[in-house]
C-alpha cells in the first residue's frame, strides 16, 4: 500500500506538538514556568556567539557518533557499546599525547597521531563487541553494554591510578596537556575548533555517500534486512558485520579523540558525556537515514547547551533537555507506528 503524501509531515508535526505538550505538563506539574524555561533554553543555545559556538562544540561529537551508528544500524545492529567506544578512543588519544608530550615530535603531528590512535582505540573496542557477537554468539546489546562498563572502569583506574595528577587524584581528570597540544581553537578561551567541525561534516557526508551510492552500502543494507538471503546472494555476511562495527568504532573513537584534544585537553571520568546514547536517539529520530542527521543532531546539541543555564537562571534542573529529547523520540516513533496502522486500516489485524 502506498503512503498518501500529506500524512507523514502531519504525523511528524503532531509528534513534536505532543512532545512539547507533555514536557510543558511536566513543567507545570513541578510548578515551573514553561515559557520562561523554553525562552531560557533558546537564549542559552543561540543567544550569543559564545553559546552558539558551544552548540557547535557539542554538535561535533554527536554528529560523529551518529555517523558511525548509522552504519551499524544499516547492517541491523544495535551498537549500544558506542559509549565505551568513545571512552576507549579518548583513552588511546590521551595515552598517545602523554607519550609524545615533551618529546621531539612536532606538536601538530603529535595531535594527528593521537587522533589516529583514538580512532584505532574506538575501532578496537567496537571490534571486540563484533567478535563477541560473531564468534561467541553474544548479542551486541549485551556485549556492548558490558564493554561500556569495562571502558568506564579502565578510564577511572587510569585517572585515579597510573595517570593521576601529581599529589592528589581527582574527579577533574588527568593533568591538562600543554597548549601546543590542543587542537587549534578560534580564540584562546574558546573550545571551538573549526577543524573539528570540518571533520564532523566530512564524516556524515562520507557515511551518506557510503550508504546511498556504493556497493558496500547496498551490501550492508542487504545483510541488515535479511542476512540469510544476503549470504545466499554471495555476500560474506559476518565479515560485513565486523567491518560495520569497525567503521562505527572509528567514528566513535574520533569523537573521543576530539573530546580530549579540543574540548577538555585531558582525560576526565565522563569523557563520553552521554553522546553515544544521544546519538542512538538522533539515529532513531531521523529513521536511520543520513540525510537529516546533521540538522537533528544540531537541534539536540542546542537543547543540551541551552539547558545548561536553567539551574542558574530558573533554579531548574538541566535535565529538562533530556526530557524533551526523550519524549520527542518516543512520540515520533509512536506517530510512525500509529501512521502505519492507520494506513493499514481495514487491512489485516494482528
Amino acid at each position: 500500500m502506498r503512503d498518501s503524501p500529506g500524512l507523514k509531515p502531519l504525523f511528524r508535526t503532531a509528534a513534536v506538538v505532543l512532545a512539547l505538550t507533555l514536557t510543558t505538563l511536566v513543567l507545570l506539574a513541578t510548578k515551573s514556568p514553561p515559557l520562561a524555561a523554553y525562552a531560557s533554553i533558546a537564549r542559552g543555545a543561540v543567544g550569543s556567539w559564545s553559546v552558539g559556538s558551544d552548540v557547535l562544540v557539542a554538535w561535533v561529537p554527536l554528529l560523529l557518533v551518529t555517523s558511525g551508528l548509522l552504519v551499524t544500524f544499516t547492517v541491523g545492529l544495535w551498537n549500544i557499546g558506542i559509549e565505551g567506544q568513545i571512552t576507549s578512543g579518548a583513552v588511546f588519544t590521551t595515552w598517545a599525547l602523554r607519550s609524545f608530550q615533551g618529546g621531539s615530535l612536532d606538536p601538530g603531528l603529535a595531535i594527528a597521531f593521537a587522533v589516529l590512535a583514538g580512532m584505532a582505540g574506538g575501532m578496537l573496542w567496537a571490534m571486540l563487541v563484533g567478535a563477541l557477537k560473531t564468534f561467541g554468539g553474544v548479542n551486541e546489546i549485551f556485549g556492548g553494554l558490558g564493554l561500556n562498563y569495562v571502558a568506564t572502569a579502565v578510564n577511572l583506574w587510569l585517572i585515579f591510578g597510573p595517570w593521576k595528577r601529581p599529589g592528589v587524584a581527582s574527579m577533574s581528570g588527568t593533568v591538562p596537556f600543554g597548549r601546543s597540544y590542543w587542537l587549534p581553537t578560534v580564540t584562546e578561551q574558546s573550545r571551538f575548533a573549526p577543524i573539528a567541525v570540518v571533520i564532523a561534516v566530512v564524516a556524515i557526508a562520507v557515511v551518506f555517500v557510503l550508504i546511498q551510492g556504493t556497493y558496500f552500502g547496498l551490501r550492508l543494507k542487504a545483510v541488515g534486512r535479511n542476512s540469510r538471503a544476503a549470504y545466499l546472494l554471495g555476500i560474506p555476511t559476518w565479515q560485513y558485520t565486523m567491518v560495520s562495527f569497525a567503521i562505527c568504532g572509528l567514528f566513535a573513537g574520533l569523537a573521543g579523540a576530539i573530546q580530549v584534544t579540543a574540548v577538555y585537553h585531558r582525560l576526565i571520568p565522563s569523557i563520553s558525556s552521554g553522546y553515544g546514547y544521544l546519538g542512538l536517539m538522533v539515529s532513531m529520530l531521523v529513521n536511520y537515514s543520513a540525510a537529516l542527521a546533521a540538522p537533528v543532531a544540531l537541534f539536540f546539541a542546542a537543547l543540551n547547551v541551552g539547558s545548561i543555564q536553567l539551574p542558574i537562571i530558573l533554579k531548574m534542573d538541566s535535565s529538562l533537555a533530556g526530557v524533551l529529547q526523550g519524549t520527542l523520540v518516543l512520540f515520533v516513533l509512536l506517530a510512525e507506528g500509529v501512521r502505519s496502522r492507520v494506513m493499514k486500516k481495514g487491512g489485516s489485524r494482528p
Binding site: 558496500f216 543494507k221 554471495g234
Partner: protein, 496 residues
C-alpha cells in the same frame, strides 16, 4: 450451516481483491474454490473467517446476517479455518494446544479434554496421542490436529486453505476421506485450492475466481479444460517432456553421510550429468532438504565426499560452491532468497557481485529492466520485492542467477504458484538444461516430480532410494515409496 456471501467487496489501495462476489454454500456439501494466485480466494476466506472486514457486502449464516469481527468471533459462530501453515504451538503437548484455543474456564480440565480428544481422534481413525508434543508431528498429522481442534471447539463449517500442499499421498487420501465423512455428517466445507485434480476428485461443486470476480461455477463431472479456461481466461498449453542430450558429470556424491536433528542419511551415492534433472521426492523432513543443502556447502557431511565437476568440495563453503557455478534457490523465497525492503534493481546489483566502489545506477536500471522483461516479471526496477506476488518472486530468483551455471539446486520450485507461473518457471529451468546446466530439485508435488525429472530419488525417514527413471515410475508407485511402502526391493538389491 448455510453460508451466503452477498456482493463482497474488498480493495487494498488500487487493487480490487474482491469486486462483488456472491457465493452460497449449503450444509453437508463440499465447495471447491479455484483461482490462480491473486484471484481473490484468500481475501474472501479471510473475510469469512474474521481476519478481515469487507468494505461492503454481507455474510449471512443460516439466514441471519452476521458481522464477523475476528477469528475468535468466526469460531464462536461455528466457522473454523484450517490454514496452509497449521496454526499450532510446536513446543506444547497436543492436549494443551487444543485447550489454548478454548474460552473461559480459569482452570482447564486437561483430563476431560484429553478424553474427549481421544474419542474424537478414534472417530476419525487419527492416530494422535494427546500427551505427545506437537513438534513431533508431520505436516499431515498437524492438519489432523487442527481439524480435531476446530471440531472440538464446535465448528460447523470448515475452510481448508490449500490443505494438500506438503503432505504425502496416503495422508491426502486420509484427509479427503475425513472431509467426505464430515460433509456427510452435515459439515459445510469450503476447499480452497489451485490443484484442479484435488477439487475434481473431492468437491460437489466448484466456483472459479478470477481477478476478484466470480468467473464461473461448475458441477461434476468436471471438465478440466473448462476449469482452466475459467481460471486463466485462456487455455494454457502444457510443455512437452523434452529430452536433452547429457554431458559430463557435474555433481558427484560418494558415500555421503548426513546428520540432522531428527534423522541420519548413510552412504548416499549420486552422479548427476550436465543437462540432467533429478527430482527429490519424499514427505517434508525425510532428509531431502539436508541432502540438497550439502550439495551447496550449506550443510557439512559427516563422512563421504561431494565433487563439483571433478573438484573436491566436501569441506568448501557455500561461496566456494557459488564460484564453481552452483546456485541454490531456497523454498522460503521472501525469508531466505530475497531481501525485503530492497528493490528488484538492487537485487540484480547484489547478485552481479561486482567489485568497485560506486554503483552506476543508470546502467543498473537498464540491466534490471532487461532482466525483468526477459523473465516476464510483473514489476519495475524500483519495485520492492515484497510487493511482488509469489510467482513473480520466484521469477525474480531465477532472473538473479548467473548465466553460466553448472548446477541449480531448487527447493520447491513452484510451491504456491498457479499453473501459468509453474509452466513458465519450468520452461526457464528447461532452457538452462538445454545449455548444459544440471538441476536437482525437491518437490512434494508428485506430478511435478514425474513430469520434469529425468531420474527420481525418494527419501523416507533418512532412507534413500537409488535413482529411478521417471519414465517407468508411476504416481501410484512413487506415492507408495513416499509413504514408506515397497522399500524391500532396494534392500534386497543391496544384499544381492
Amino acid at each position: 450451516m448455510l453460508i451466503e456471501l452477498r456482493d463482497i467487496c474488498k480493495t487494498f489501495g488500487p487493487v480490487r481483491a474482491n469486486a462483488g462476489i456472491s457465493i452460497e454454500v449449503a450444509s453437508a456439501s463440499i465447495l471447491g474454490i479455484l483461482g490462480e494466485n491473486g484471484a481473490g480466494k484468500s481475501t474472501l476466506m479471510k473475510i469469512l473467517s474474521g481476519f478481515q472486514l469487507p468494505d461492503s457486502g454481507s455474510i449471512i449464516l443460516d439466514g441471519e446476517a452476521a458481522t464477523i469481527r475476528s477469528p475468535a468471533d468466526a469460531l464462536a459462530r461455528g466457522i473454523g479455518m484450517l490454514h496452509q501453515d497449521p496454526l499450532d504451538f510446536p513446543p506444547l503437548r497436543l492436549v494443551d494446544d487444543i485447550i489454548l484455543g478454548s474460552k473461559g474456564r480459569l482452570r482447564p480440565d486437561r483430563r476431560r479434554t484429553a478424553k474427549e480428544f481421544r474419542e474424537l481422534a478414534s472417530r476419525f481413525e487419527f492416530d494422535l496421542d494427546p500427551e505427545a508434543y506437537v513438534d513431533a508431528l508431520t505436516v499431515g498429522e498437524r492438519q489432523q490436529l487442527e481439524i480435531l481442534r476446530l471440531l472440538w471447539l464446535g465448528a460447523r463449517a470448515l475452510i481448508l486453505d490449500e490443505p494438500t500442499t506438503g503432505i504425502s499421498l496416503p495422508q491426502k487420501e486420509k484427509l479427503f476421506a475425513t472431509i467426505r465423512r464430515l460433509a456427510s455428517e452435515g459439515m459445510t466445507v469450503l476447499f480452497v485450492s489451485h490443484k484442479l485434480e484435488d477439487v475434481e476428485s473431492l468437491c460437489d461443486r466448484a466456483v472459479v475466481l478470477r481477478q476478484g470476480l466470480l468467473a464461473g461455477s461448475e458441477v461434476p463431472p468436471f471438465d478440466t479444460r473448462r476449469l482452466i479456461e475459467l481460471m486463466f481466461g485462456k487455455e494454457v498449453p502444457q510443455s512437452p517432456h523434452l529430452r536433452i542430450a547429457r554431458g559430463g558429470e557435474v555433481l558427484s556424491a560418494r558415500g555421503l553421510c548426513l546428520d540432522s536433528l531428527r534423522l541420519q542419511i548413510k552412504d548416499l551415492d549420486l552422479s548427476v550429468r550436465a543437462g540432467e534433472v533429478i527430482g527429490l521426492a519424499g514427505m517434508e523432513g525425510s532428509g531431502q532438504a539436508i541432502f540438497l543443502a550439502s550439495c551447496a556447502g550449506l550443510a557439512r557431511p559427516v563422512a563421504g565426499s561431494v565433487r563439483i565437476e571433478e573438484r573436491e568440495m566436501t569441506r568448501a563453503s557455500h561461496h566456494d560452491f557459488k564460484r564453481e557455478g552452483v546456485a541454490y534457490l531456497p523454498a522460503a523465497r521472501l525469508e531466505e532468497g530475497l531481501v525485503p525492503g530492497l528493490t528488484l534493481e538492487e537485487h540484480f546489483i547484489l547478485a552481479e557481485g561486482r567489485r568497485g566502489l560506486f554503483i552506476d545506477r543508470r546502467s543498473a536500471e537498464i540491466k534490471a529492466a532487461s532482466r525483468i522483461a526477459s523473465y516476464n516479471i510483473k514489476g519495475r526496477p524500483d519495485s520492492p520485492v515484497e510487493e511482488l506476488s509469489g510467482g513473480n518472486q520466484q521469477r525474480a530468483l531465477l532472473a538473479l542467477l548467473r548465466d553460466d551455471l553448472s548446477l541449480i539446486l531448487v527447493e520447491h520450485p513452484t510451491r504456491g504458484l498457479d499453473i501459468e507461473s509453474t509452466i513458465y518457471i519450468w520452461s526457464k529451468l528447461k532452457e538452462r538444461c538445454a545449455q548444459g546446466t544440471a538441476i536437482v530439485f525437491i518437490s512434494s508435488d508428485l506430478d511435478e516430480i514425474l513430469q520434469y525429472s529425468d531420474r527420481v530419488i525418494v527419501f523416507f525417514a533418512g532412507k534413500v532410494s537409488p535413482p529411478l527413471a521417471a519414465e517407468s515410475l508411476g504416481v501410484e508407485e512413487l506415492g507408495r515409496l513416499i509413504g514408506g511402502k515397497g522399500w524391500e526391493k532396494f534392500e534386497e538389491a543391496v544384499r544381492a
